[in-house]
Amino acid sequence: MLCVLALAFPLVAGVIALAMPWRAWIGWVSALSAAGVLGVGIALCVEASSGTATTALHGGLRADSLSSFMVVVIGCVSLLATLQTPRVMGREIAERATTPRHASLYVLLMQAFITCMLAAVLAANLGVLWVAVEATTIATTFLVSHNRTKKAFEASWKYVVLCSVGIALAFFGTVLMYFAALHSGVGAPHSASLNWTALMAMAPHLNHGVMRLALALLVLGYGTKVGLAPTHSWLADAHSQAPAPVSALMSGVLLTVAFYALLRCKAIADAALGPAFPRALFLVVGLLSLLVAAALLIAQRDLKRMLAYSSVEHMGLLALGAAAGSSLAISAVLLHMLGHGLTKSTLFISSGEIAHAEGTTEMAKVTALLARRPVLGGIFGCGLVALLGLPPFSLFISEFAMARAEVDAGLWWVVALSLLCLSVIFVSITNHARHLLLGAASSRPMVLNARSVAVPLVSALVVCAFIGVVSWPLLTLLHAAAHVVA
């Protein structure tokens, strides 16, 4: 029941946007639906904490503690992103940058996008999970090209082609897993063999050769969507061209939803093959992503591209954490997903405001933000502090816990290498931020007069700091969720 309700909120909001001519209140409906999703997510978490999974639609939807946690993450970031809709769309219509029809389309696609992500994390069947992840690509294409510039079309073209081709590999991997399940010799009903519970039960009987091939394809395939190297190149293009709230939603949750798919597949492969082979795969893509991010962040000139490459970095960190694979590591990975989602969406939304106020996203042309726009600059600065993994924000504790778990798993050399990359990234981003934020103001400070921007963003940062210091509501949930796949 709750699972269906979670999907119903964004669906209904989407239908309203489709049926009605554009009005400012339609933007608020989309925010309301995101709040509904967040509420349902919390309710699901409470139910899952008793240890049983909620199912719906004849077992087609299934919410264990891991899925419930993902619903909360999606709810949080969607709320942040959709709260911007009324203001951003109103402004664009006023400036004639968009038409009311496109504003309605924007709300509709946003809601479709959120629905697809929810379907992905709630699907009981790995095939349906794949369909939902692929559908997110379709839903987001026209969001990426919303600005209708040549660059935006180029970005969305590259995004669809690369992601569709990449994710086709994941389908191949899913089919191979199904093939292995059909020939496992364990009696399971034909059509249920892609169900997560059935696959976990028969995992020890799956053929090793086929599973190795399947996992490699799944990591490459879903890895494209996560933005892991070597197929990360769409990420910076799409994130830099999409409207800021869309970038926030894509970077904040779309990547982690794809990573969730990888976690599920890895759990099956771990049970079938033992930890060595999956760990090697995740280490390779994780370290490669960190290296790529570090190399491309040093001389980055564009504000939004900088944030995008920082997402590549954080996804690499998640892959390394998943490689360690212990319960502590997975808990930390999940906490990192939430912290990164809150921080990165805050940063993207405020970067959108900066881009609008300054008329550019080129970092060389923007300076002394703290003096000139204290509120906006302050939020952006705090967000960067959180993103770099400094306390009290939760990314500090999750990165620390992941490193700890990696050392426990005997991967100290991985920790050493990743710390090296992280320090390069730290210096690069602080260097960019120094130019961006500090400096003397040439004019009078301008106070941001939109409370609807500042309040949600500041609250997101406060929540991020709160869960970094007090683990109280999350700790049991994280342990339960980690137990599902660790």
Binding site: G127, W130, T137, F142, K151, F153, L182, L194, L213
Partner: protein, 219 residues
Amino acid sequence: MNGSFYVGALELAAGAVLVCAVITLWRRQIRTIVTMLRLQGVALAVVAGVLAWHEHDLGLAFTALLVLAVKGGLVPWLLRRVVRHDPRSRETAPLMNVPSSLVAAAILIVVSYIVTSKLTDLAPSGATRLVPIGVATVLVGYFMLVTRRRAVSQIVGLLLVDNGIALVTFLLTSGVPLIVELGSTLDVLLVVVVLQVLVVNANAQHGSFESDEMRELRD
């Protein structure tokens, strides 16, 4: 159905899928290439149909009809519309000339026979013996994606990859569960619709839309 006829029909249809893929590398006229894609879609539907007949699987028979409608009908029709909207894309513009592309295709086919031995060993049968053909189609599709520059050629490459994977799915597991099949076919259709709309919109707003001109975003 008679056993040898079943295997023969399956071999013929699966072979046709690969032959169509190779012809798309060979011909330069996009019209011919779209026709080949249509034939490939039909051949794919025949594979599913023969398997459905052989295994008395009603769900798979439905899938065969779906594949026929989408990959043999709707998708080629959409591609035609892209070509009509973009006069420059009548001809392909390969980065590698045609004879070397064909040699590369031959190498890819051999490679696919080598890498799939693990799969065919698990359940050797008339159908799984043909899996390398599907994998070869996937590889030819990737090759097309990286060596062709026109927007339409990239969509064709994407569709070849997809058809190859569909063929492997039919041969290995007689198709995935119906709901997954429905979802994935719908996804493919929507991707093509999305790409078509992108080409048409970008052409309308900015004059031309070719992937070899996409040089603005880079690091």
